[in-house]
Amino acid sequence: MMIDIHTHPPKRNLFGESFDPEGAAQALLAEMNPYGISKAGLLGNNCYPFQTEASVREVNDFTLEVVRRHPERFFGFCFINPGNDPAFIREELDRCLSLPEFYAVKLEVCVNCRSSRLDLVMERAIAHRAVVLQHSWYVNTWEMSPAEMKHQANRSEPHDVADLARRFPEGRIIMAHMEGCGVRGILDIAELPNVWVDTSGSQPFSGTLEYAIEILGSERILFGSDLLGRGLAGQLGRIMGTPISSEDRQNILLHNAAKLFSLHLDH
């Protein structure tokens, strides 16, 4: 039994046809089932910045529909653009986080998380006892196109996540993309017990997971694949192929997520 806390319901199939919520659910389940993934967190089907109020609501409505069809297999993250109007952010967070399908908040590269615009998001997440996942990466932008640079302009790096965690010690934060955060990113959050890291990001490079366990302890590491943008062979292979203890592996693949999200596993 395993929990993948970082997946995205796909927008389209291989032929470019739009998925409805059931189609997206089936595409994810087809990947999860052979590997024994019991439950997956859905982070939304749109990861691009600068989302409007309408598109944010559309992302969350889609997530809601997928979870409602398979509540035993999925749990939702409420996608938020902190750059939107604060009144909308409050309304959308309260709308989603009041529903049993949503357990957490997803923040992308819309606004750097040192911004005071995050204050409202964190306050509402804490009020709803919801976890906040922040996309994070020490990305080297040297080969990026102007369009990609614009995409990354407001990104959050691990030291930014650490700043957010210090400002809101009662908040529970996941720093996404361990491999993108790297050794330095792991060190950035080492002294912050309210920050977890998910294992997703890039290829299954060796060495990073052992280092994260050494510095953070396996209790603060969550399995995340970034499915369907990434494959479970590579991303699960990162966990299964790293020489670590079975206890650490079980913490990462199951126990930590079950505890952090208070998940009931009846699958």
Binding site: Q203, P204, F205, G207, L227, G231, Q235, G241
Partner: protein, 254 residues
């Protein structure tokens, strides 16, 4: 199913802590995974103009492990590369030669590279071209290295039809370009990381030219093995990628 890993290394890399840092540990991991043959090059040979020192150390140490076949790194800018290659070939465990064009500042269009291809064909050694060793997005700003352009590999393979080439560590986007290349150009699956990676790659690239590569020790070899075991990869295709395509390529050498 016999698995041959054409993309592996051993040694020290200054910006990564490898999970398998001794030959014994690496051999043990391949044993656990059921990988029968591993083509190994010296990691440190990437970072110095002269690959000889680390290649020799690897040649000596790896000879104790029947699973490992040594791959010689060639810097075609060195005047005596051919003599060093022939020396290494006489050891009997040399399996291929490997180029790191961007790390050594030796573009594939150099005349020396064409000469190397001719010698490799004469010795019946495939030429492995390492497109990248890490994710460019994660490189420290003071250690930036571009990937080798797929189009340059395609052009070289067309100019040297007697030589067998294997492009190592291409992304899916590279595969589309590599697919336009000639039949003597193969590509490995090490950087294919989508759901059903092998199936997705075979939609972009001729499946009879896809070969197994793990890019260990940078990447975890189990991840590559798990790609072969994906439910939607037919067993026949998995077997071809695992070693069948490579064997066919080697058999095609004149």
């Amino acid at each position: 199913m016999k698995i041959i890993d054409v993309n592996a290394g051993f040694g020290f890399w200054p910006i990564q802590r490898f999970s398998f840092s001794t030959l014994s540990a690496l051999d043990g991991e391949y044993e656990r995974l059921g990988v029968e043959e591993v083509w190994l090059s010296a990691v440190e040979s990437i970072l110095y103009p002269e690959p000889e020192t680390y290649d020799q150390r690897l040649l000596s140490a790896a000879s104790e492990y029947p699973r490992f076949r040594v791959v010689k790194t060639i810097n075609p800018l060195l005047a005596n590369w051919e003599a060093r290659l022939r020396d290494a070939h006489s050891s009997g465990i040399l399996r291929a030669v490997k180029l790191f064009p961007n790390y050594h500042g030796a573009p594939l269009a150099l005349p020396a590279v064409k000469n190397l291809c001719a010698v490799a064909a004469q010795l019946r050694l495939p030429v492995l071209i390492q497109m990248r060793v890490n994710d460019e997005r994660n490189q420290p700003s003071c250690l930036q290295m571009s990937a080798v352009q797929a189009g340059e590999i395609v052009a070289l393979a067309q100019e040297a039809p007697e030589t067998l080439f294997i492009a190592l560590a291409p992304y899916h986007s590279d595969l589309k370009i590599l697919a336009t290349g000639s039949a003597n150009l193969l590509a490995d699956i090490s950087f294919m990381d989508y759901s059903n990676a092998v199936g997705a790659a075979s939609r972009l690239f001729p499946q009879e030219r896809l070969v197994f590569g793990s890019h260990a020790p940078w990447l975890l070899p189990q991840a590559a093995v798990m790609k072969l075991g994906h439910l939607e990869v037919p067993l026949a295709l998995a077997a071809k990628v695992a070693s069948g395509n490579l064997q066919a390529g080697l058999n095609s050498l004149p």
